[in-house]
Amino acid sequence: MRSPIRFEKRLTQPAWLSWGIPLLSLLIALVIGGIVLQITGKDALDVYDRIFERGFASKRAIQGSLITATPLAFTGLCAAVAFRMGVINIGGEGQLYVGAIGASMVGIAMDGQPVGFVVVCMLVMGMLFGAAYGSIVGVLRARFNTNEIITSLMLNYIAGILLNYLIFNSRSYWRDPRTQGFPSGKPIGDRGEWTKFSIFGVSVPLGFLIAILAGGAVWLLYKRTRFGFEVGVIADSPRAAAYAGIRTRWTIVAVMALSGALAGLGGASDVGDFRHLLDAKGLQLSNYGYTGIVVAALARLNPLATIFVAVLIGGLTNAGYALQGPDFPSGLVGTLQGLILFSSVAGEVLLRYRIRQNRTPRREAVAS
């Protein structure tokens, strides 16, 4: 049997498709999500209406969304940076945890130091810790050709267990000795709490501004530098990279360190901007790392678009937290995120191929 349609490779990609397709993907995901909602007995329009209201429709909603968007922007960049080289780092989750551990450590230790200094140290420690954790994956991939998808994922679980150990199962430096009953992290000093900036009356976390800078920096790095050129060639053809004398192994490690550093910044921002302590449970429930993959995919791995998409997905996620309840079942946000990811990978197909109708071959009428 033969299928009624066929795919024809596009030779060139019209420019409008690169933003049109993600937009279409988002719409399709929402439509399918709506169908799921309707089937399971919810009023889809009502649910979407409330998501919009709690995610974007007021100043307060936008502020909340930006707080969620900030770590997502970082984990999105973390995924984008690595995916662009064809290294599938899904360890943003763990790298973010470890970054948070590093940042909260200096945040606690440096109580009383000048504000700016503390903030910078938290950022640097977050980056260093995240970079170190990401490098493990990079080194294993570069040295032993070990599948980075699985190693980075296993390290996520290990980082989660490390968080549990630090806060729940030991009397570590990060645990607040004063808490009775349910253990929690030790609060960082006031000076480690990052300031917020008021822009058009909306208070924007410092971390978000740093994310924008980071997005710009990554964009420049990949577009304008030798390093970015090398990453691009490796992604296109590792054999061509070897042929051109590009040090592929070193570049893999460097990219993984960069990727981890970005996720680590996300962890630092979670501590500095938002929770002001190492929140083992909260971090693990947030799923920032995995959601970052959705963000990066929808942004088609463009660093600047990643920031924008992070706000969008951040709003959705934020509304999800706010609305959690019998009318708004848990799992809905993850389902919608999964649908967005599906439709954006399927959307890539439209970018690469043109869908054509199959015709039966025309037969010349031959009478013989």
Binding site: F144, T291, V294, P329
Partner: protein, 319 residues
């Protein structure tokens, strides 16, 4: 004697290893056809939640309810397998991202949690769990009793399955064709083998086996649904496919090794042996990395290597 530590660990290695084996065997089939499935974790969870739901809602004799739960869980897995096949084979999307999408879509904070929530699956334990049997009354036989004769029905099914799967892969024509599709789809196509059909069928089988692994978690291990209860078992299963060199028998052995590690925490805690529980929890994940490093060296890779076309979509009219 049957309470000696080694016997208990051996018995629980099999008990905890069985769902890993199901999921990994599914992976063997899928990857042998050249399709990479990173959605196993999500497929397992979806199988687990639907199986638990069925156990709560299907009336009838106990065996019927259990059978229905198993089949419904497998069906849910098969549906996600179908979805994955559609994305990877028909749409030729990036297989890695498609698999991740399935895990995020169906996974711990996705559809499986959504279903659990709206169906209130987690409110009560599973009424008809899959219990351990006492085969031929041999359960009390020293050493072998707990290990071989007191497992549940799915474990025994897995032993049949490993034989069937090996024969299928290496002795039958279908297995030969399947391996050809995974090694060289161009060759298979030129020889008149329907590459698309083989990939679809085996991705769906893979999904249903992942679903079966999930059912095992919610019906045999915990007998209650908990969101995200597989805790990365799906990912370990993917690694197991690599350790098992894409062979059912070796995969079973690997699964039992990891089953032993997973059960170690519970077993030792029950005996008041003082080891950090966190360390034990982290062990399977850490060991996965270690073993993966060992088998991914050049030598092992060339020798017992992955299906050559793994992860690559097949296009006939490429030009």
């Amino acid at each position: 004697m049957n309470n000696s530590l080694l016997v208990v660990i051996a018995a629980s290695a099999i008990f905890y290893g069985t769902p890993l084996f199901f999921a990994a065997l599914g992976g063997v089939f899928t990857e042998r056809s050249g399709v990479l499935n990173l959605g196993v974790e999500g497929m397992m969870l979806l199988g687990g939640v639907t199986g638990a739901w069925a156990s709560q809602h299907v009336d009838g004799p106990a065996w019927f309810t259990v059978l229905a739960s198993i089949l419904i869980g497998m069906l849910a897995g098969a549906c996600t397998g179908l979805l994955h096949a559609f994305l990877c084979v028909t749409l030729r999307t990036n297989q890695t991202v498609a698999g991740l999408a399935i895990t995020i879509f169906a996974g711990a904070v996705g559809l499986s949690s959504y279903f659990a929530n709206i169906w209130e699956v987690a409110k009560s334990p599973v009424p008809r769990p899959i219990r351990k049997l006492d085969v031929l009354g041999l359960g009390e036989v020293p050493v072998l009793g707990p290990i071989l004769f007191s497992q549940n029905v799915l474990t025994y099914a897995s032993w049949i399955l490993v034989v069937v799967a090996s024969v299928y892969l290496f002795r039958t024509r279908f297995g030969l064709h399947l391996r050809a599709v995974g090694e060289s789809p161009q060759t298979a196509d030129a020889m008149g083998i329907d590459v698309v059909r083989y990939r679809y069928v085996h991705t769906i089988i893979g999904g249903s086996l992942a679903g079966l692994g999930g059912v095992y978690y919610s019906l045999a291990i915990v007998p209650t649904w908990v969101d995200g209860m597989t805790k990365g078992a799906g990912w370990i299963a993917i690694a197991l496919v690599i350790f098992g060199f894409w062979r059912p028998g070796l995969t079973l052995i690997g699964a039992y090794l990891f089953g032993a590690l997973q059960s170690l925490g519970t077993t030792l805690k029950a005996r008041n042996i003082q080891i950090s529980g966190d360390l034990l929890d982290a062990l399977p994940y850490a060991l996965t990395i270690v073993v993966l490093v060992v088998v991914s060296t050049q030598f092992a890779h060339r020798r017992l290597g992955a299906p050559a076309s793994l992860g690559q979509p097949y296009e006939r009219e490429e030009r």
